[in-house]
């Protein structure tokens, strides 16, 4: 990020707020066990449904497990699943988009029809289908998120590459004898990168929502892993008597999704100020 872009990025107060919240959750995920006073899976049936106290700052759940420790380790799982899934999906989408946009013709037709076909499935349905095929668990939830991200990135990158491949500097490279792979790697991809980063950031929020939705339905990360969606699903059963069990993971998901959305918008405005008024 060059200094101009960085200055524009930090000028926006909302972006700073969103980045701060994200930083907090990322720090929580990275530091993980250091922050936890208890093992997140330690069952203590003598202290179930405890309200917040000095001992358990966010209380305990139905099995007496410390909610704060589960939230911290849950941040690790939720963010890891979303990051890995989205980045793998964006990478595969980028390869498909670049190939379709740069080579055009039959290759473009085949890839574009494939992407159209994936887009014919509403996002969550596609993720459910992938989990139905692969089964649940952390790696398969990542695969579902990746699969879900591919068509959106592929379509966007294809559009950018179609514009870039006819630009004068790419034609000049071609005249100088540069190979297709060299043009793609040293010119096309770096010039598409800013939009890919913005869209990947915006997709991260959607990925967290999708991953937690799958876990809430019992199709994603499964208990006893403290994934936020799975925690909310457990909290649902006691919503009448102990709403805190659902409120804590629910607020965490909302804050992280909102922060990714704010940071993504801020990045887009900083990288392309012309778009700001739109």
């Amino acid at each position: 990020m060059d200094s101009q872009v960085f200055k524009r990025f930090i000028k926006n107060k909302a972006t700073i707020g969103g980045s701060a919240i994200l930083f907090l959750f990322l720090a929580m995920a990275v530091l993980g066990p250091v922050l936890c006073a208890y093992d997140p899976n330690r069952i203590d049936l003598t202290s179930v449904y405890q309200p917040p106290s000095a001992e358990h700052i966010l209380g305990t759940d139905n099995l007496g497990r410390d909610t704060f420790s589960r939230l911290v380790i849950g941040a690790r799982i939720s963010l890891l699943v979303s990051f890995v899934g989205t980045i793998v999906g964006s990478f595969l989408g980028m390869i498909l988009g670049v190939t379709a946009g740069y080579f055009g013709g039959k290759i473009d037709s085949v890839i574009s029809r494939f992407v159209d076909l994936l887009l014919a499935f509403p996002g969550l349905l596609l993720a459910i289908v992938v989990v139905a095929i692969l089964g649940n668990g952390i790696p398969n939830t990542m695969a579902a998120i990746a699969f879900y991200s591919i068509p959106y990135i592929a379509r966007m990158v294809r559009g950018i590459v179609i514009t870039l491949k006819d630009s004068e500097y790419v034609q000049a490279c071609r005249v100088m004898g540069a190979s297709d792979s060299r043009i793609i790697i040293t010119h096309i991809i770096p010039n598409s990168m800013s939009q890919i980063i913005v869209n990947t950031t915006l997709n991260l929020g959607t990925a967290i929502l999708t991953a937690s939705s799958l876990s809430f339905l019992g199709l994603g990360v499964t208990p006893p892993n403290p994934e936020w969606g799975a925690m909310l699903s457990q909290g649902r059963e006691v919503i009448r008597y102990f709403p805190l069990a659902a409120i804590v993971p629910g607020v965490a998901i909302t804050l992280v999704v909102m922060s990714f959305s704010i940071v993504g918008d801020g990045l887009r405005d900083a990288l392309d100020p012309k778009l700001k008024n739109n």
């Binding site: 499935f121 459910i128 929020g205 939705s213 909290g235 909302t254 909102m258």
Partner: protein
């Protein structure tokens, strides 16, 4: 327009055919034997082989696909491995719940989202604009299942204003529809705000103002119609999304819709059920998108389809 509509409907046939092929193939690359799942670990090899033969799973894939597609065209999506009930019958019973939720959610989101979007655009830069933008952002970011639980906690369990589960009376629809629509409110509001700002800056609006036409007439009669094209796209896409997204709301409010049927099918690894429901949901999504495409010309007569 009529010729275009007919052509568009015919173009749908190969798309639906490819979707059916994809759904069929996806269900056949699933690791594990559905018959073993069905009969349990105790089943003998002979029993498994006999059941596979009976279900036609030993036939070549093209034969199985032909049987699946010709059955689907006649409205026969097979039987559930576990309940043995016909899937078409189950879907026909459950589909109306999901459609009612999706239609209700879309109407709720459109009315509230467009009103918020217009207010933000007209009062751009004011506290009202900033507050409504924040509300929209929170609405987009809140997971629907969390919102559903919070609404249930507040309006059903604490205040006792509304029933919490099921869909027996019109009152039962309020919470699920509001929950389902809320996430789209933010998106529709943002799109309307941006489209209205574009339109309100155009010359014909300035001319209308200089002619002394009341502001309400300018906003609701002149500007809104031209700002509707991007909004219709978002509404259409959201409607299709809500058909699948209702799965979460159906789960929280214990509504026997098609989404819940799909999730139960996945959890029990009942592949014919998953195959049938995914096919119906994907078909619905594609058909809704086509209808949205055709609606453009109704809203904006400048659009001519060749």
């Amino acid at each position: 327009m009529l010729a275009y509509s007919i052509r568009r409907i015919f173009q749908l046939i190969p798309v639906l055919f490819v979707i059916s092929l994809l759904v069929f193939l996806m269900m056949h690359i699933i690791p594990g034997d559905p018959v073993k799942n069905m009969l349990g670990l105790e089943a003998s090899k002979e029993a498994i082989e006999a059941e596979r033969e009976r279900l036609g799973l030993n036939d070549p894939l093209p034969t199985q696909y032909f049987r699946f597609i010709s059955g689907a065209m006649k409205g026969d999506l097979g039987r559930s491995i576990f309940t043995k009930k016909t899937i078409t019958q189950e879907i026909l019973q459950r589909y109306p719940y999901t459609v009612k939720l999706a239609v209700g959610g879309t109407l709720f989101a459109t009315v509230v989202g467009v009103l918020i979007g217009i207010t933000c655009a007209v009062r751009r830069g004011t506290v009202t604009d900033s507050s409504l933008v924040v509300v929209s952002l929170v609405a987009v970011s809140t997971p629907s299942f969390f919102l559903a639980l919070m609404m249930m906690l507040i309006f059903a369990l604490n205040l006792h204003w509304l029933p919490s589960i099921g869909l027996r009376t019109p009152m039962h629809y309020i919470l699920p529809i509001a929950t389902l629509g809320m996430q789209s409110v933010g998106l529709i509001a943002r799109t309307t705000r941006s489209a209205m700002l574009d339109v309100l800056n155009q010359d014909y609006i300035r001319t209308s103002r200089s002619r002394g036409i009341p502001e309400k007439v300018i906003i609701y009669c002149h500007a809104l119609k031209n700002a509707m094209i991007p909004v219709i796209t978002v509404v259409g896409l959201r409607f299709g999304g809500l058909l699948a997204g209702s799965t979460l709301v159906e789960t929280v409010f214990s509504i026997p819709g098609i989404g819940r049927y799909l999730v139960d099918g996945v959890l029990k690894r009942d592949f014919p059920v998953v195959q049938g429901t995914v096919l119906v949901l994907a078909f619905s999504f594609v058909v809704v998108n086509m209808i949205v495409d055709l609606l453009y010309a109704v809203v904006d007569p400048r659009i001519k389809y060749e």
